[in-house]
């Protein structure tokens, strides 16, 4: 069987690959959106923090013999903790200034973090094994489903939808949404907004770290992996529109799939299709697909 001249197995394989990439886009752009909402900072260091997550997995295995599942729990704590320190020490001072300062600060931070990792690890990639429980593939009849890839998509969906649920449906989320609109008033009501800001940044960073760990077995871990993905993620954020939680999840997954399908039908376009879409969306809806016009 074929779909538009492509064997269904290849089609579905690319679709899954697209979903896997889309999962990373979704998790990263979700973190960016949450951080931007409350902190008003476009976090350019997000890719570097994602890379740090992957290196936590690599080092935990290499130095301590701790496997994937350990890393999945440890990386968000360690990298999130690092994020909290950064927020307390550096970001705190620039909230009242123009976006541009936050962008420059976090961009500088990304360069420093990457520089340090390059110094210690060089630029060549490090392989990371797929966890034992998720090796191999499942034959679904119509396609062979690689277990780990299916797991990545599922895990990221759970993380993203869990985040969406907390933000849109719980009391804590109501504080967060209200704090995004009018932090002064929320603080005047008695909510410790500075603490909420710190924890929110830590949480957004933790999402990036989880993304890094999930990516470790499917890519080569290297200090530049963050820079490579973050440009696409920023395009995703622009397309989806800053500040919409569900928007960033859907756009991330959707663009991953579109990229995957572009590989099947017109491979030359696969690395540019996202940016073409970005240009079109910017012309038609400058605030993004899910963004609110200001």
């Amino acid at each position: 069987m074929e779909i538009f001249g492509v064997p269904i197995q290849a089609f579905l394989g690319q679709l899954l690959l697209g979903l896997v990439n889309g999962s990373f886009y979704a998790m990263l752009s979700l973190g960016l959106a949450v951080i931007f909402g409350l902190l008003n900072i476009i976090n350019f260091s997000h890719g570097a923090l994602y890379m740090m997550g992957a290196y936590v997995a690599f080092l935990a295995l290499d130095l301590l013999g701790l496997g994937f599942w350990w890393s999945l729990a440890l990386a968000p704590l360690i990298v999130g903790g690092f994020g909290i320190i950064i927020e307390r020490l550096l970001m705190r001072w620039i909230y009242k200034l123009d976006h541009l300062y936050g962008l420059l600060l976090t961009f500088g931070l990304a360069l420093i973090i990457e520089g340090v990792y390059r110094y210690f690890f060089g630029v060549s990639g490090q392989p990371y094994p797929v966890p034992d429980a998720l090796r191999g593939a499942t034959d679904l009849g119509f396609m062979i489903l690689p277990n780990y890839r299916a797991f990545v998509v599922l895990a990221s969906l759970i993380v993203c939808l869990g985040t969406w649920y907390v933000i849109e449906r719980t009391r804590l989320g109501a504080y967060l949404r209200a704090g995004t609109e009018n932090p002064q008033l929320v603080q005047a009501f008695g909510v410790n907004v500075p603490l909420m800001v710190t924890l929110t940044f830590g949480f957004g960073v933790a999402l990036a770290a989880i993304g890094g760990v999930l990516a470790a077995p499917v890519i080569q871990i290297n200090p530049l992996m963050g820079s490579n993905i973050i440009i696409v993620v920023f395009a995703v954020v622009v397309i989806g529109g800053m500040g919409s939680i569900l928007g960033s999840i859907l756009t991330g997954l959707g663009l991953g799939v579109i990229e995957g399908l572009a590989k099947v039908y017109y491979a030359e376009a696969s690395s540019t299709v996202v940016f073409v879409i970005m240009a079109i969306v910017l012309m038609v809806r400058p605030a993004g697909l899910f963004g609110k016009e200001k």
Binding site: A178, A188, F189, G190
Partner: protein, 236 residues
């Protein structure tokens, strides 16, 4: 009347937004259970006085005693927990929250607050519209919501900034009834009002502000003899 217990005392309060010096030594005090109104022309510094109590200005100095505790050095989120509820001039209804989420947003600061059911009995409109987006409510409903949500928290001192502004007469009357009822329940209220006719029958005492200072203070009983002065200061 039992002897008056001071709930709020402000002494020599100076407040700044960045470089601009807005309040120049404000002194005022409010007793438990009193309704006090701050009058003054636009830009006199009444909103700034309320914001200073909550720590929402750039810098402030002097003394703000709330319920026997000095608040001048506290961050805003701690000040609220001294038992203050704030209804800002611009109402501050959140558009990303439903009406009910807006109502439930302010954390409880004391166990004496009204229950959600009591609040819905008081403001049936809010119950009807509880699933609507906060900013889809009418101006009057939003004002009700802004007042209602601080009644849930148990705050005993309510700071209300121009709650009658821009509302239809029936709504203003309803708000007047609400204030009267709150006074009967023993709330302490500081109201900023432009609308003297709304405030006059509700307040026990009045302060008049001008250029960041208190220039007059009088009680409801003295109102008649002060009309000339009010006319001069406020153009009433």
């Amino acid at each position: 009347m039992t002897t008056a217990v001071e709930f709020l005392r402000i002494t020599d309060l100076h407040a700044f937004y960045g470089e601009s010096h807005i309040l120049h030594g404000v002194d005022l005090s409010v007793n438990r259970g009193e309704v006090v109104t701050l009058l003054g022309r636009n830009g006199a510094g009444r909103t700034t006085t309320l914001k200073s109590i909550l720590g929402l200005v750039g810098h402030r100095s002097g003394s703000i005693m709330i319920n026997g505790r000095e608040a001048i050095g506290l961050p805003p989120h701690k000040i609220a927990h001294l038992g203050i509820g704030y209804c800002p001039e611009e109402r501050g209804i959140f558009s990303s929250l439903s009406c009910e989420e807006n109502l439930l947003l302010p954390p409880v600061v004391a166990s004496t607050g009204l229950s959600v059911d009591e609040i819905y009995d008081m403001f049936p409109n809010l119950k009807e519209r509880r699933m609507s987006q906060g900013t889809r409510l009418s101006g009057g409903e939003q004002q009700m919501l802004a007042v209602a949500r601080i009644l849930r928290t148990g705050a005993q001192l309510l700071l209300l900034d121009e709650i009658s502004e821009g509302l239809a007469p029936v709504i203003v009357q309803a708000l007047g009834r609400t204030i009267r009822m709150l006074r009967e329940k023993g709330y302490t209220i500081v109201m900023v009002e432009q609308n003297f006719r709304f405030a006059a029958p509700l307040a026990d005492r009045f302060y008049v502000m001008e250029h960041g200072r208190i220039v007059e203070a009088f009680s409801a009983g003295e109102m008649r003899s002060k009309m000339g002065m009010l006319h001069e200061f406020l153009g009433i």
